[in-house]
């Protein structure tokens, strides 16, 4: 190292991943198709919802409602979102502890979109050597056409990705028409532009740099690894043998010949390195750049199949298995995460299933706390807030209990019809004559009972509130 001065900044090495066929490639493609079908088509799905937008999944921020199929989430239920995020986080911990960076390799949107962009690149510019030749070559007509074509297709995909993201926040068909006619609102254009730009840059240009240098999850997932976690690994003992790897050559054609000479099964074809989307050599062991996409397994299996040697020179294994010990998948960590995960899912499900179709709060008006009436009785005033959470009308009745002789006056609004998703504040006056029971009883609390009468069946809501009198504090 003495002959060279240390460089503080690193030049990026362009990666040209070769395509590969195999079982993990098929799994990745299946995950990709599934994710894209859901992502791109979901906003177009309609849902019959009377008195509310008919988009199956719609996050209506101005209207403060999230519509997810049959479920309508109101502002006060937003903690469900926190619950869902907690579940996703624990699911990540659980899966990562068990099977390593499964999320990174198969499901992460960075992986999916990079994959799609590489497919486009491959389709337009050809396989790895062709792409490398094109990059090295001069800017002639062919290079302009192929590079331009790739960028144009990328941009188109990126734009549709951005627009689709925006569709989740407003009515999709209207948005598409409005966007193309130039009359969509500014935030819609801004969101679409931002997502278009980030998709193009991240999936087209930055690629593995995102996973290596930007993504925090990539780094902290290693904290969830242990010696039993599944990792993609090269079998060094089999591949290197005693004397190391060697190309297929004279006297080194069959396994028997090679083993006799102490040479391993790796024929140094370099296919596993060429297919790697992050540009590492898996034969150097576990590296932080590895996203566990398993494409090197497919590559090596292809070669082994061709040579009719057994598969598995590169395979899913664990550090314990590599050092000859047993891989223990059912361990305290897995069980712990599993239990927490099941509990969190159960709690969220329970919370959603037992949600109330309406809410009611009662608050005492404090200025003045009470007023004396002409017949000597005391009056308190309350503000009642009602919220119909359904997309259907309902009728609600308001009454009081727990106070003999108390009179409720709401100007005839004790029985109130609520429009779908209506929120309303009502005023309630309650008057109680002095000593209504004749037993010298002092009333300082009353209970409002709000119960649904029509349109829905649900438990009545009870709200116990203070009742102030001049006798208070004597």
């Amino acid at each position: 190292m003495s002959e060279e001065t240390a460089q503080l900044y690193q030049k990026r090495i362009q990666i040209y991943p070769r395509s590969v066929k195999g079982r993990f490639r098929n799994l990745k493609t299946a995950a990709l198709v599934l994710a894209y079908v859901i992502y791109y088509l979901l906003p177009w799905l309609r849902w019959d919802r009377p008195n509310a937008p008919d988009q199956a999944v719609l996050y209506d921020l101005p209207g403060r409602h999230f519509y997810i199929f049959g479920l309508t989430i109101q502002v006060q239920d937003i903690f469900w979102l926190a619950g869902a995020l907690i579940i996703f986080a624990i699911l990540l911990f659980f899966v990562t502890g068990l099977a390593g960076r499964v999320w990174c390799g198969y499901f992460c949107f960075q992986t999916l979109w990079t994959d799609l962009f590489m497919m486009v690149e491959h389709w337009v510019q050809g396989e790895r050597p062709a792409r490398m030749r094109l990059d090295k070559g001069p800017w002639n007509r062919e290079k302009f056409a192929k590079k331009g074509g790739t960028y144009a297709l990328w941009l188109l995909i990126a734009f549709w990705t951005g627009l689709t993201f925006t569709m989740y926040w407003t009515d999709a068909p209207t948005l598409v028409v409005d966007t193309l006619l130039g009359r969509a609102p500014y935030p819609a254009y801004f969101t679409t532009f931002l997502l278009t730009a980030t998709t193009f840059v991240m999936a087209g240009l930055a690629r593995e740099q995102v996973c290596t240098y930007m993504c925090p999850y990539a780094r902290f997932q290693s904290a969830m690894f242990d010696h039993d976690t599944l990792i993609v690994s090269y079998n060094q003992r089999r591949g290197d043998g005693e004397k190391g790897r060697a190309k297929l050559g004279k006297g080194l054609k069959t396994r028997e010949e090679r083993q006799a000479q102490g040479v391993g099964d790796c024929i140094e074809c370099g296919y596993c390195v060429q297919v790697c989307p992050v540009g590492i050599d898996i034969r150097k062991g576990l590296q932080y750049q590895c996203i566990s996409c398993a494409l090197c397994i497919d590559a090596c299996d292809t070669i082994m199949d061709n040579l009719q040697w057994p598969r598995g020179l590169i395979r899913y294994t664990s550090e314990n298995a590599l050092s000859g010990k047993k891989t223990n998948l059912i361990k305290a960590k897995t069980i712990g995460y599993g239990v927490i995960l099941v509990a969190a899912i159960a709690m969220l499900t329970w919370s959603i299933l037992t949600r109330s179709p309406y809410t009611a709060t009662v608050e005492q008006v404090r200025q003045p706390l009470y007023s004396q009436l002409t017949d000597g009785s005391t009056r308190n005033t309350y503000e009642i807030k009602l919220n119909n959470k359904l997309t259907a009308p309902m009728t609600v009745g308001i009454g009081i209990e727990g106070a003999t002789g108390a009179i409720l006056d709401m100007d005839g609004m004790e029985r109130i019809a609520l429009e779908p998703q209506e929120r309303i504040k009502l005023l309630a006056r309650v008057q109680i004559a002095p000593d209504p029971t004749g037993k010298g009883e002092h009333i300082d609390k009353i209970t409002f009972v709000i119960k649904p009468l029509e349109g829905v069946t649900a438990e009545p809501i009870r709200r116990r509130v203070p009742f102030s009198t001049p006798d208070d504090g004597r």
Binding site: M1, A6, Y9, Q10, Q209, D281, K284, V365, Q372, L373
Partner: protein, 318 residues
């Protein structure tokens, strides 16, 4: 070189910066990607652009105002016309833009028009309009009425009527409240100090206290009753033969538990209450209890909203 570094990182042998301090203290070199550095320079350039778009540096007595501008709708106070106005970017103009464009504002205008078209009967029956009246009325009441009647409408005993009870001096139905607001009120009661002798004042005060069940009838109260209902005092002209008051005169109901005008409850014992009442009857009310007319100060819709607000404060009985 980079290839080599990659290899070193992959194999776990990390390059050092090449220095050694205290003999063996070395520093690892994990080079940052070059593009990351360019991103940093990019943010520096971006911040300079910001200086020109948004208000930034102080310059002498003034500052760089920025090219950004915000447009919003303003109402011209003199003509009542609405017009678009451009102003340089700041948080105040953003707020004005928000206020003039927001969906809430449209909702408010729609509701205002609905109230304007409705009569009292319709407003009182409509929960949405009542909610609106309470919300807008609270602001109007705070601006115009609370100075005397208090923030919650509880008034000041002996000076300004309490609007939260069910005792309405000038009547509690919508027409009467509307009239009170539009035309104002001027409470009057003649001073009896010159008309009645001190002992007669005593008797009348005693009688009025029995009316409100503060004390039991006695000889004195019987004498007071004669003065009240006879030509000597003539109190029944205004307060009525049943002493229950006459709203059209603003004459108080003397038979209920509420002392709407005279501050009798402030006194703790009976003799003091009697003295307070006697003094009140003696001096009367003349130009001390005036409510100004509001018809020239508030719009008809504002008066409508205020009337509904005041009615729901007290419940609007009688």
């Amino acid at each position: 070189m980079s290839e080599k570094m990659h290899e070193q990182q992959s194999t776990g042998a990390v390059q050092t910066t090449g220095h050694a301090w205290d003999g063996d203290l070395q520093e690892y070199n994990n080079p940052l990607p070059r593009w990351w550095l360019w991103c940093f320079y990019g943010t520096v350039v971006f911040s300079v652009l910001y200086w020109f778009i948004y208000p930034s540096w102080p310059v002498g007595q003034t500052w760089l105002k920025g090219f950004g501008s915000v447009s919003y709708t303003v109402t011209d106070k003199a003509t009542g016309q609405q017009k678009e106005q451009d102003y340089r970017w700041n948080t105040r103009s953003l707020l004005l833009e928000d206020l003039s464009d927001a969906a809430n504002n449209k909702q408010r205008k729609d509701m205002m028009a609905k109230v304007q078209a409705a009569d009292y009967e319709q407003v009182l029956k409509d929960p949405k309009m009542m909610e609106f009246a309470r919300s807008v009325g609270k602001g109007l009441f705070g601006d115009n009425c609370a100075a005397c009647h208090g923030r919650g409408g509880q008034g000041v005993a002996g000076l300004y009527p309490n609007l939260t009870d069910d005792d309405w001096l000038w009547g509690g139905d919508m027409a009467q409240i509307h009239q009170t607001l539009v035309q104002g009120r001027n409470g009057f009661m003649p001073a009896f100090g010159q008309v009645l002798k001190p002992e007669q004042l005593d008797d009348v005060a005693e009688y009025v206290l029995t009316l409100a069940s503060e004390t039991r009838p006695s000889d004195a109260s019987e004498r007071g009753k004669e003065i009240f209902h006879g030509q000597t005092g003539g109190c029944y002209y205004c307060h009525g033969a049943d002493a229950k008051g006459v709203p059209s005169q603003g004459a108080a109901n003397l038979t209920d538990k509420i002392w709407a005008v005279a501050d009798v409850p402030a006194q703790k014992n009976l003799p003091d209450k009697k003295t307070a009442l006697k003094n009140f009857i003696s001096s009367g009310v003349n130009n001390t209890r005036i409510m100004p007319p509001w018809k020239d100060r508030l719009s008809p819709t504002d008066i409508k909203l205020l009337a509904v607000y005041v009615r729901q404060l007290g419940g609007g009985k009688q």
